[in-house]
C-alpha cells in the first residue's frame, strides 16, 4: 500500500492557479475565454468569498495567453485611497495595447477608483478581467459563481484522488457547512483534519 505523506489540502495543491475544477454547470473555461475576447476584452467574475473566482481567472488566463502580448496580475488587498496609487489604476506602467490586466478583488476599491480603472483600460485599449464580490456596473458579467456542496465535493475528490488520499464524506459535509460554503475555508478545515491524521501515523 502506498504511504500517504502529503496533505492534499496544503496550499501547494489548493492555491489559485494550481488547478481549477469546473463546476458541472459551467460552459467551460475555454468558452468563457472566447466570450471575453468577443465581448470587448472586458469582463468580470462575480461571487462570494472563497468560491473559486481567482482560480477560474487563472485558468482563463492560460487560455488567453496567446491573445495578449502580456498579462499582468494585480491583487488588491484592503487599502485606503492613498495606498492605491494612480499608476496602479492605470494598469501598471507597462500596460497598453494588446495587454491584459487582471484585477483580483476589485470590490475593495472605491467607486471612483473602479471608474478610473475601467476608464484607463479602455483609453489604453488594454483588456480588463476582474473578480468581484458584487457586480460592477458597466462591466459585462462573464460568470456568476455560486458555491454548491456538489462542486465542493468534486474539488475534494479531485485533490484526494491525485494525492491518493481518502477523506470521510461526513468531514467534507462538515467542512462545507461550518464555513457557509466558503471553499477556501472548507479546504483549510480539511487540511487540519488530515494533518492530525498524518502526524498520528507518521509519529
Amino acid at each position: 500500500m502506498q504511504r500517504i505523506d502529503e496533505n492534499p489540502f496544503a496550499t501547494r495543491f489548493t492555491r489559485p492557479g494550481y488547478r481549477f475544477v469546473e463546476p458541472d454547470d459551467t460552459s467551460g473555461v475555454e468558452s468563457l475565454a472566447v466570450r471575453f475576447l468577443r465581448d470587448g476584452q472586458c469582463g468580470q467574475i462575480v461571487g462570494p468569498h472563497g468560491c473559486g473566482k481567482t482560480s477560474l481567472v487563472y485558468a482563463m488566463t492560460r487560455s488567453l495567453q496567446t491573445a495578449f502580448r502580456e498579462i499582468q496580475f494585480l491583487v488588491i488587498r484592503r487599502q485606503g485611497w492613498l495606498g492605491f496609487r494612480s499608476e496602479k489604476i492605470a494598469g501598471l506602467h507597462g500596460s497598453g495595447d494588446s495587454d491584459l490586466l487582471v484585477v483580483d478583488g476589485v470590490e475593495t476599491l472605491s467607486p471612483i477608483q473602479r471608474w478610473c480603472l475601467v476608464g484607463s483600460c479602455r483609453y489604453r485599449n488594454c483588456g480588463l478581467l476582474l473578480t468581484s464580490h458584487q457586480e460592477l456596473l458597466g462591466v459585462p458579467i462573464l460568470k456568476k459563481l455560486m458555491p454548491s456542496f456538489s462542486h465542493f465535493e468534486q474539488i475534494v475528490e479531485h485533490l484526494t484522488r491525485s494525492e491518493h488520499a481518502t477523506v470521510q464524506s461526513s468531514s467534507v459535509r462538515e467542512a462545507y457547512d461550518r464555513n457557509d460554503g466558503n471553499y477556501r475555508e472548507g479546504l483549510m478545515f480539511l487540511y487540519d483534519e488530515f494533518q492530525q491524521q498524518l502526524l498520528a501515523t507518521t509519529g
Binding site: 496533505n7 489540502f9 496544503a10 496550499t11 501547494r12 487540511y191 487540519d192 507518521t202
Partner: protein, 133 residues
C-alpha cells in the same frame, strides 16, 4: 506523449542527514519518447508546506541545456552538495519543513516533468528535548 520516468537515488541510501553531511546522489531519465528535451535541472531544496504562504530555499542548483541525445539522458547524472545547518526538517500542524532533491525535465513544448525525493535534515525533537530539559 509518454510520461518520462525520472529516478533519483542517494548514494548511501539513507534518508536522514545531519548538518555538514555531504549529500551525494544521481538521477536517470528514461522513457522519453520522441519529445525533445531542452533542459534538465537538478536541485537540492527546502520548502515549507502547510495552510499558509509557502516558502522555498535552494541549496544546490544545476541546469544543463540541450539538445540531448536520448542515450545521453539515460546515463546516470551525479550531484553532490554539503548540507547546511538549517532549516531542520519539521512536521508540525500548521507547517512542515521538507528537504528534497528535485529534478525537472523541460521539453520543447510547454510541458515539464518533475520528480522529488524527500529526505530529512537534522533532528528537531533532539533540540526540543535539550531545551525542555
Amino acid at each position: 506523449m509518454s510520461r518520462p520516468k525520472i529516478k533519483i537515488s542517494l548514494s548511501d541510501e539513507k534518508l536522514a542527514y545531519s548538518p555538514g553531511d555531504v549529500l551525494v546522489g544521481q538521477y536517470v531519465i528514461d522513457n522519453l519518447g520522441d519529445d525533445k528535451v531542452v533542459a534538465v535541472e537538478s536541485s537540492v531544496i527546502w520548502m515549507t508546506q502547510g495552510k499558509g504562504e509557502e516558502d522555498i530555499g535552494v541549496q544546490f542548483f544545476d541546469r544543463q541545456k540541450g539538445p540531448f541525445d536520448v542515450r545521453q539522458l539515460q546515463q546516470p547524472r551525479k550531484f553532490s552538495t554539503v548540507l547546511p545547518c538549517s532549516p531542520f526538517s519539521y512536521d508540525g500542524m500548521m507547517i512542515r519543513v521538507r528537504w528534497a532533491v528535485r529534478v525537472r525535465v523541460f521539453f520543447e513544448v510547454e510541458l515539464q516533468c518533475t520528480e522529488e525525493l524527500y529526505f530529512r535534515l537534522g533532528n528537531v525533537s533532539s533540540i526540543l528535548g535539550d531545551l525542555s530539559g
